[in-house]
């Protein structure tokens, strides 16, 4: 499935975490030009536009996405409670809206609903890389067809890494994207979990997770084949 378009860039961390937790792939853009330039081959799957900080920029982007021959949909708008009057006369710019600060469960329910109405696939079901496969619906991971016994956080970390192969992440990024706010131990916790994951992947596959010296970690081959 193609990624969701997210505005602004970077998006609020709680939005990023919420989308990650629900297994969406997404890409943040800072304006309409970036949205055009970075549009994936299959087109954007949909859009989540945050309007409570840069309201003008947000609506300008919505206009560019919707006032075209094939309007982008579904488009979910996030607005602050005091901004509801800014929605007047703009009904054609979005399909639904959600109040910020966001409640993750509400956001997910709305996205799910929008996608079901538009008849598109609700969410990606499988993440795979080489011998590894994760079923996001059943929370099960297998390697070489053998089930992996993981704790919840080990599963979440592996899911995030496997969904972004070849990309290098710092400990801080992993902490904010995978753990969010709910953890003990700070950035060192990432090292602890990587160590545990490698042990569970087994000797043969432990090297799927590379340590990138003085930066962080990378899953799978680097994009430059290293």
């Amino acid at each position: 499935m193609e990624p969701l378009l997210v505005f602004p860039n970077p998006p609020p961390p709680e939005l990023a975490q919420c989308l990650d937790l629900d297994g969406w792939s997404w890409k943040a853009v800072s304006d309409a030009e970036a949205a055009m330039a970075e549009e994936p081959d299959g087109g954007w799957a949909g859009a989540v536009v945050v309007a409570d900080t840069d309201t003008e920029g947000a609506f300008a982007l919505c206009r560019r996405l919707r006032k075209v021959e094939v309007p982008l949909q579904p488009l979910l708008l996030l607005v602050g409670g005091s901004q509801l009057d800014s929605l007047d006369l703009r009904d054609d710019l979005f399909d639904d809206f959600c109040l910020s600060p966001l409640r993750p469960t509400e956001l997910q329910a709305r996205i799910k609903h929008l996608f079901s109405r538009s008849g598109r696939e609700v969410r990606p079901e499988l993440v795979g890389y080489g011998p590894l496969a994760l079923n996001l619906e059943t929370y099960q991971a297998v390697i070489d067809g053998e089930p992996l016994d993981l704790t919840y956080m080990e599963y979440e970390l592996l899911k995030f890494l496997a969904a972004h192969p070849g990309k290098v992440f710092t400990r801080e990024t992993l902490l904010s994207r995978v753990w969010g706010y709910d953890y003990y131990g700070g950035a060192r916790t990432v090292d602890v979990h990587i160590r545990r994951l490698r042990a569970k992947l087994g000797e043969e596959h432990a090297s799927l997770i590379h340590t990138v010296r003085s930066v962080g970690y990378r899953f799978g081959q680097s994009r430059w084949g290293g």
Binding site: T105, Q108, Y139, D149, Y152, E154, Y181, Y184, T189
Partner: protein
């Protein structure tokens, strides 16, 4: 006494969603893997493992509402008023038990204990540690622990311990049953998300050591509980007995649980200071000073058995004196010199603990003592350069080096007078622990020992 924290403290906007997702993860895994039994794990005040098994059909309700049980059945849980409490599973700790019959998979999950109204239950050691960890977080610190757990394998649990082998340090023989046991144990621990740093044969006959890779204090206390269970279970399956009793044999060194401690602030090791000549930050120095100042008060918790003091008094690798040093294994607190370029591993090693402690309470008092040192900006006394084991009483007095308590009774006296330990443990556990341990000491005092019979009977 903590009343608000239910173990579900809101840690940000993602929290509600995260806990629902964790719950779903557990339920789906139980379903997908055909789990037949889920064991709810918790710990009594003395650090003994408690387990209640429930069926998968009950799991969803128990995850949402907790499991009600009579707390008075558990040591240290009983109270004068109503005694029912709730075991609330912590879904982040859910694991499949690697030693379960593959045809009938079992899962395990650690629980927090709460009162029926959802407030945290003051008799639950896991919540005591959570509270102390939260106190450290409030001043910006995360504590990491890495214990070295020693234990013995004996032929059985009878009163005459029989070592399995007489192999010495680093000795490996293919016929060594114990080494096979150890290998299997390590495999199990890795499967239970408990990474092992080193494992090797110790000095004593049939004595072994497993060094765990550092992790945050709460996870580590859970890991120590799991490790003790795993070691005993695997030994039992092979028809031998594993014991964490601190000093099971005369004339042979006992089992300790030397524990490496470090504090991190904003992801950086707070014990390291690149500008200090010795690389040790003011934070580290005050932390050590705090450990030393309160060492005698916390010893009843780090060494809770009558038998614990037989290990301390005999010396070997066990510290007898309240002191610190860099490379002096007779000191109570050792500051290992980090390997070149490994400043992140700057840490202090507290050497009094033994593996029969309650890890939740022991880590709590260590953290509290160190933090108090930082809070009061205590100045670190001079390093103990000499081998303290060789000191005469006079030399010791001249150096101003205090002893650790000589026995449980002395340790309890120190603890009873300690505001720090009371604050760290909370009134309920503090008072229950003292009562229980006083009774243990009094019972011991009434025993006629083998020593007395052998020494006095022929002569008097």
């Amino acid at each position: 006494m903590e009343t608000q924290d239910t173990g579900e403290a809101d840690r940000g906007p993602g929290h509600e969603h995260r806990s629902r997702d964790q719950r779903d993860y557990v339920l789906r895994t139980v379903e997908e893997r055909g789990v037949r039994l889920v064991r709810l794990w918790f710990t009594d005040v003395l650090g003994r493992h408690k387990s209640v098994a429930i069926s998968p059909a009950e799991l969803e309700t128990v995850l949402d509402e907790g499991l009600q049980f009579d707390g008075s059945a558990i040591d240290g849980f009983s109270r004068v008023q109503e005694s029912d409490v709730l075991a609330r599973p912590d879904p982040s700790t859910f694991e499949l038990l690697p030693w379960a019959d593959p045809a009938e998979p079992s899962g395990t999950i650690f629980c927090n204990i709460t009162n029926l109204d959802g407030t945290s239950f003051e008799g639950d050691p896991r919540q005591v540690l959570r509270r102390n960890v939260d106190r450290a977080r409030q001043v910006g610190f995360e504590m990491f622990c890495a214990p070295e757990v020693e234990f013995f394998y004996f032929a059985d649990a009878g009163p005459q311990p029989t070592p399995l082998d007489r192999a010495s340090y680093f000795d490996l023989t293919t016929t060594d049953v114990a080494s096979d046991l150890r290998k299997q144990t390590l495999h199990m621990l890795e499967a239970l998300s408990i990474p092992v740093e080193y494992s090797f044969h110790e000095d004593g006959p049939s004595q072994h050591e497993i060094d765990l890779q550092y992790t945050d204090a709460l996870t580590m206390a859970d890991s120590v509980m799991t490790l003790r269970l795993a070691v005993k279970k695997i030994a039992m399956d092979r028809g031998v007995y594993a014991t964490f009793m601190p000093k099971p044999l005369n004339g042979v060194q006992g089992s300790g649980m030397h524990t490496h401690l470090s504090l991190f602030r904003d992801g950086k090791n707070a014990f390291h200071d690149p500008d200090a000549t010795d690389g040790l930050s003011t934070t580290a120095r005050s932390f050590i000073a705090g450990l030393l100042r309160h060492a005698r008060e916390i010893t009843a918790v780090t060494n809770q058995l009558v038998n614990s003091y037989k290990r301390i008094n005999e010396g070997y690798e066990a510290p007898r004196y309240v002191s610190w040093a860099r490379n002096n294994r007779s000191a109570l607190v050792r500051v290992p010199i980090p390997k070149l370029g490994k400043i992140e591993s700057t840490r202090v090693e507290y050497r009094a603990l033994d593996p029969a402690c309650n890890p939740y309470l022991a880590f709590s008092v260590l953290l509290a003592a160190g933090l108090r040192g930082i809070e009061e900006e205590l100045v670190l006394p001079a390093e103990a350069a000499v081998n303290l084991y060789d000191l005469s009483r006079e030399e010791q007095r001249d150096l101003g080096v205090a002893n650790l308590p000589h026995n449980l009774n002395e340790a309890l006296d120190e603890m009873e007078a300690s505001e720090l330990v009371r604050h760290a443990l909370g009134d309920h556990i503090f008072e229950w622990f003292l009562r229980n341990k006083r009774a243990e000491w009094n019972e011991y005092q009434r025993q006629v020992t083998t020593f007395e019979l052998e020494t006095y009977l022929p002569n008097w």
